[in-house]
């Protein structure tokens, strides 16, 4: 079984995909942190539905 020689283009694509993956992972962590920060806020309250039971 032989493998094709890796082209410079494949390295570039790998770098781009790796970078994008890391950015997305960072974004997930940031949104998680934001959620924790917002629900930990003293002013935070769960919105209640208006007119419930009408």
């Amino acid at each position: 079984m032989s493998f094709r020689e890796e082209h410079e283009l494949h390295k570039r694509r790998f770098g781009r995909n790796l970078g994008l993956g890391l950015v997305l992972a960072g974004f997930v962590a940031l949104v998680f942190g934001l959620t924790i920060a917002k629900v930990s806020n003293e002013d935070f309250s769960v919105p209640t539905q208006q007119g419930e039971g009408n």
Binding site: R12, G15, L20, L30, G33, I36, A37
Partner: protein
């Protein structure tokens, strides 16, 4: 690079750009200024955000600024290819296609505005959206190739970040944030005109109606002096407002004196003198202008920190 090789390189294939090429579309060096001034606006505000919210706000302001940069490069790829300073940018260098840059910029712009809204408030997001619109549509598409006052008007786009930072923390626009806006707005013209003086030939060749091209270099030198005087009056005057104080006053006096010295020297020189010493004074003024802005915003931050420690004003009655 010859015209032939430039043409060859500019035929980029879709999907071949690397991560760094797309990052370069965000104008990372401009982003540093955006991040720094937005951070000062956010930290100088009287309302403290949760650190994660502050981090998110700065990040999304930076992404919004970067998106505007990508859209600017999308529109200006034709003249970027003609100027020595910009011909290595991803589109003229053939790394990224124009369509990719447009899609990248517009997606990031929408993403940044929505995320800033979710992370902070609607006003901050609205100012960010307006900033992107102003930079891309009003400045890049509308005015840059039309009027020699392009730098003056375009400077407004770069002046919004501290206002966005302040709005992210407080949910309001106030006199302090308007003063920070005014500081960058007034600083931009002499900063860029100093650059235009020693980057001679670049703008001429690209057909951008810079003041140096339309009104001549003598007039540009006078404009630098007039704007620097106005800037100095405003910058020193700001010491007696809510963002100022004794630390800021000292910094403002020192840096405005230095900037005025260089502006006067530029005004008194002619092209023969400038060429004789390879634009030494113009280059010095440009470098100083970068330190000038950094010093003023650091001083604003220092005053906010002192006020937080109960040391605001330091006996200078009526300040802050």
């Amino acid at each position: 690079m010859s015209d032939a090789s430039l043409h060859q390189a500019s035929t980029a294939q879709p999907g071949e750009g690397g991560f760094g090429d797309f990052f370069a579309l965000l104008k990372p060096r401009v982003m540093v200024l955006v991040v720094f001034t937005a951070l000062v606006g956010l930290l100088a505000a009287p309302v403290a955000l949760h650190p994660v919210e502050a981090l998110a706000a700065i990040l999304f302001i930076a992404v919004g600024g970067g998106a505007a940069g990508a859209l600017n490069m999308w529109w200006e790829s034709d003249i970027d290819a003609l100027m020595r300073r910009t011909r290595r940018r991803p589109i003229p260098a053939g790394k990224v296609t124009r369509d990719e840059a447009f899609a990248f910029g517009i997606t990031l712009a929408a993403f940044a505005v929505v995320m800033l809204w979710l992370a902070t408030n609607a006003l901050a997001a609205a100012i960010l959206a307006f900033t992107i619109f102003f930079y891309v549509v009003i400045y890049t598409v509308g005015l840059k190739r039309w009027t020699p006052q392009n730098i003056v008007i375009g400077g407004a786009a770069g002046a919004f970040p501290p206002m966005i930072g302040w709005a992210a923390a407080t949910g309001t626009v106030s006199i302090e944030s308007v003063l920070m806006f005014a500081l960058i707005f007034m600083w931009t013209p002499p900063h860029f005109w100093a650059l235009a003086l020693f980057m001679r030939g670049d703008y001429d060749g690209a057909g951008v109606p810079m003041l140096t091209v339309t009104h001549g270099r003598k007039s540009t030198r006078l404009h630098i002096l007039v704007y620097t005087v106005l800037l100095a009056l405003m910058a020193v005057g700001a010491a007696f407002t809510g963002i100022g104080g004794p630390v800021y006053l000292i910094v403002a006096l020192v840096f405005n004196a230095l900037f005025l010295r260089d502006a006067v020297a530029i005004w008194r020189r002619d092209e023969d003198m400038a060429e004789a010493d390879d634009y030494r004074v113009e280059k010095r003024a440009f470098r100083l202008s970068l330190w000038y802005l950094f010093a003023h915003f650091t001083a604003i931050l220092a005053e906010a920190a002192l006020a937080g420690l109960g040391l605001g004003g330091l006996g200078f009655g009526g300040w802050a």
